[in-house]
Amino acid sequence: MAVADDHIRPTDPPDNTARRLMPLSVESVRPAPAVVAPSYGALKRSRQLPWMAIAAVAVSLLAMLPMAFIIWVAFQTGWDTVYRLVFRPRVGELLANTVLLVLCTVPLGIVLSVALAWLTERSDLPGARLWAWLSVAPLAVPAFVHSYSWITLIPGLHGLKAGVLISVIAYFPFLYLPIAAALRRLDPALEDAAASLGLGPWRIFFRVVLPQLRLAICGGSLLVGLHLLAEYGLYVFIRFDTFTTAIVDQFQSTFNGPAANMLAGVLILCCFVLLGIEVLVRGEERYARVGSGAARQSPPVRLGRTTLPCLLVPAFTALLSLGVPALTIGRWLVAGGASVWRLDEIGLALEQTLFLAVAGAVLATLAAIPMAWLSIRAPGPAQRLLEGFNYMVGSLPGVVVALALVTITVRVLLPLYQTLATILFAYALMFLPRAIISLRASIAQAPVELERAAANLGRSPLNALWATTIRLSAPGAAAGIALVGLGIMNELTATQMLAPNGTRTLALAFWAYSGEIDYAAAAPYALIMVGASLPLTWLLYVQSKRMAGR
């Protein structure tokens, strides 16, 4: 499964920040499988491996449930109906919208991110560190809050152009982070070599620097593309129809009819097409530095007289991506005054949100243990295949997972429909890849030798595992729980479709108020969501710097 092999497959979250945060760092976080010593004791293997493997297979089967169900529904529905539901003008329209959105947003995001990354990493732009942080910070604002702040600023905003504008603003950090990290790691000797071969600065950029950013650009583009496919709230505000908004509409009017399921089927195909394109474009080439020794740090390029115009790029970007949300939320808070702070209601929403976030995150992390453990301690073709499936499933939009679970509970397990169990299960499925990534990184920090040493000193296998690996990987696991929790906190689509009646999380309350055009009442919820996301965004920024060795 080349897809999963060296990039994190994003789980695609409909609208949340935290979920988006994690995949960015994956590339470097991911430990080399070589950590595992080949001489892993055969005896030990026979004792521990089967349990972990069985658990991992079980979790993977559960994770594949939604997709399997959609396929099963398609079979049940019969070819004629499927044909009638899929090949109709409405689907063509949605497909055109979605494809155009991706085709416009991704290239614009690439250009903007490359420019920002180059300015912040390779030039002597004044305040480069601040601009770098400001280029990551938009992640702290959930996409639907971006959209909310634009629509209340310019009420007439709608259609493809508005969709592209807000999508670029909300998602460009996904491209900026890997590209900036890749730029930092580039070997300046290559640029020197190109200059000595007679290339001017611009030609060096296009023939040497840009090609080496290909991996970062591919990974970031895939992430952005999957988010575009899955996003719901952002496009509802500006009345732009995509598959995801159409599925939710269909669900709200006809519940779980075959029409919604067929739309979901097409959406799954779109996701797989994106994954496939990325694998094709990325290719098999190795982009790492050839040769040995530490790379020299290249001196920053002097901007000279172009400093001022160059400053406009990050300043304008920050104004659009952070200034606009700050301005709108601030304006509505001022307009609403004290009356929008209905503390009892906000308190209740906060309480429910925290409960769902913590419970969902713990469940997702527990479910991730077998897969993460196997990928570090017993990597192999079967394990990689299994992991690949997990990432593929994780790239499915939340709306697909939710729709499948609604269908399953209604048709097969009605008592479970709209219960706490179902929503937590959905969260665990949606955020499983992210939990696996965090856990894997932390398990990799606990060398297997320690576990063996503990066993050598007379601990039983379980006891040894507890005393070494689990203890050592606890901080990483805690960070993973926090990230998943934050993702759940800002989740909108699946929560809306699956949560028990009367549930009102921060995201749902925000959504309800802004749906009633009570933008002032929605503002406190937006503020809380942004405030909760900021620290983790900062953590991500710091981590990406550290991983690049600075």
């Binding site: 020197d192 190109a194 200059a195 000595s196 071969l197 080439e285 040769g291 040995s292």
Partner: protein, 360 residues
């Protein structure tokens, strides 16, 4: 006359003086090696010549064209100077053929043929052209880097420790091949290295660099046998340095009266001999008697290391030394062929070949 001229080059990084008044002349088609310990500024000098950085003061003139003068500098891509970096710096996203052809015009008519020809010249197999750099061995990568730089037909080639990443055996053969290749192409070359034997064997002219300055510039043999001071002497190879009184071409030292390469008169001086100038001949304590003008020593320690053997010899008699006591107790450390090296406890007769060199 000289092809490349460096005049009074200075370069600072903050308060650190990287280059401090560098002067150098390179003759067209010749080979120059700049050798010095790491951090001496040799790579900075190379970057200045290549045009990646501009000097603070001083000028660089190539073939009559001023490349840099004070702060003004012709950018690297307009200099026509080739560069082979330490690890080759091959473009990882391009095939070997694309790497070699990188600096050629895209429309060049016989591009493919030229790439094949260059690959042949540096000794690369044709089959390798379609591969990517990471599929090549270190030696092959260096060959590609050299072919890539040669494709531009540079006027001057800069080699930045290009052999240091290679195995010892490969290093020597690569060095020889590259020297021959550049010589037949008539390209002037500057090699930067920290390996003194590499510098001595590669170049027509060697510049020893320390703390941003050239300590001494000259032909390899000249530098080896007539280093200006003790530091240069010891940097370029093993040296036996002795206190002496010199007068009219001879030195009175712990090894007796030996010829020196200077007619100066100095009461306290230091002379240097390369260990290979001292020969040991096995004898016995009985053989010592009746030969007061000969010098004898006892082997106090030997260390076998394959082809060469390190022998420590303590002098048994010495004629009129200025500080006889001190020297007499300090053994001479010599490297001798392992085959017939004397063993510990043996008495040897020591004789000196050639002249000693008077150190400044």
């Amino acid at each position: 006359m000289s092809f490349l001229q460096l005049r009074a080059l200075n370069k600072h990084y903050g308060s650190v003086k990287a280059l401090d008044g560098i002067d150098l002349n390179v003759v067209a088609g010749s080979r120059t090696a700049i050798v010095g310990p790491s951090g001496c500024g040799k790579t900075t000098l190379l970057r200045l010549i290549a045009g990646f950085e501009a000097p603070d003061e001083g000028s660089i003139t190539l073939d009559g064209t001023v490349l840099a003068n004070g702060g003004s500098s012709v950018p690297a891509h307009k200099r026509g100077i080739g560069l082979v970096a330490q690890d080759g710096a091959l473009f990882p996203h391009l095939t070997v053929a694309a790497n070699i052809g990188f600096g050629m015009d895209r429309g060049e008519a016989d591009r493919t043929e030229r790439i094949a020809e260059l690959a042949y010249i540096v000794g690369l197999d044709k089959a390798i052209l379609k591969r990517h750099p990471h599929e090549l061995s270190g030696g092959q990568q260096q060959r590609v880097a050299i072919a890539r730089a040669m494709a531009r037909k540079p006027r001057l080639m800069l080699l930045d420790e290009p052999f240091s990443a290679l195995d010892t055996g490969l290093r020597a053969s690569m060095r020889k091949a590259v020297a021959e290749l550049l010589e037949s192409a008539g390209v002037a070359t500057i090699l930067v290295t920290h390996d003194q034997s590499e510098a001595l064997s590669f170049a027509d002219q060697v510049a020893v660099m320390r703390d941003g300055k050239f300590s001494q510039v000259g032909a390899p043999r000249e530098l080896y046998l007539r280093p200006r001071d003790r530091m240069i002497a010891e940097f370029l190879g093993d040296a036996v340095v002795l206190p002496a009184r010199v007068d009219s071409g001879f030195a009175q030292c712990p090894l007796g009266r030996i010829a020196v390469d200077s007619t100066e008169r100095r009461d306290t001086a230091r002379i240097m001999l390369r260990p290979e100038q001292l020969t040991l001949k096995c004898t016995s304590r009985e053989g010592m008697s009746g030969t007061p003008d000969m010098l004898f020593g006892e082997v106090v320690e030997t260390e076998f290391a394959g082809s060469l053997c390190t022998v420590a010899v303590r002098l048994l008699n010495n004629a009129d030394p200025p500080d006889a006591a001190a020297i007499g107790n300090t053994p001479l450390i010599l490297k001798k062929p392992g085959m017939d090296a004397p063993t510990t406890g043996e008495v040897v007769r020591i004789s000196v070949v050639g002249k000693a060199h008077l150190l400044a």
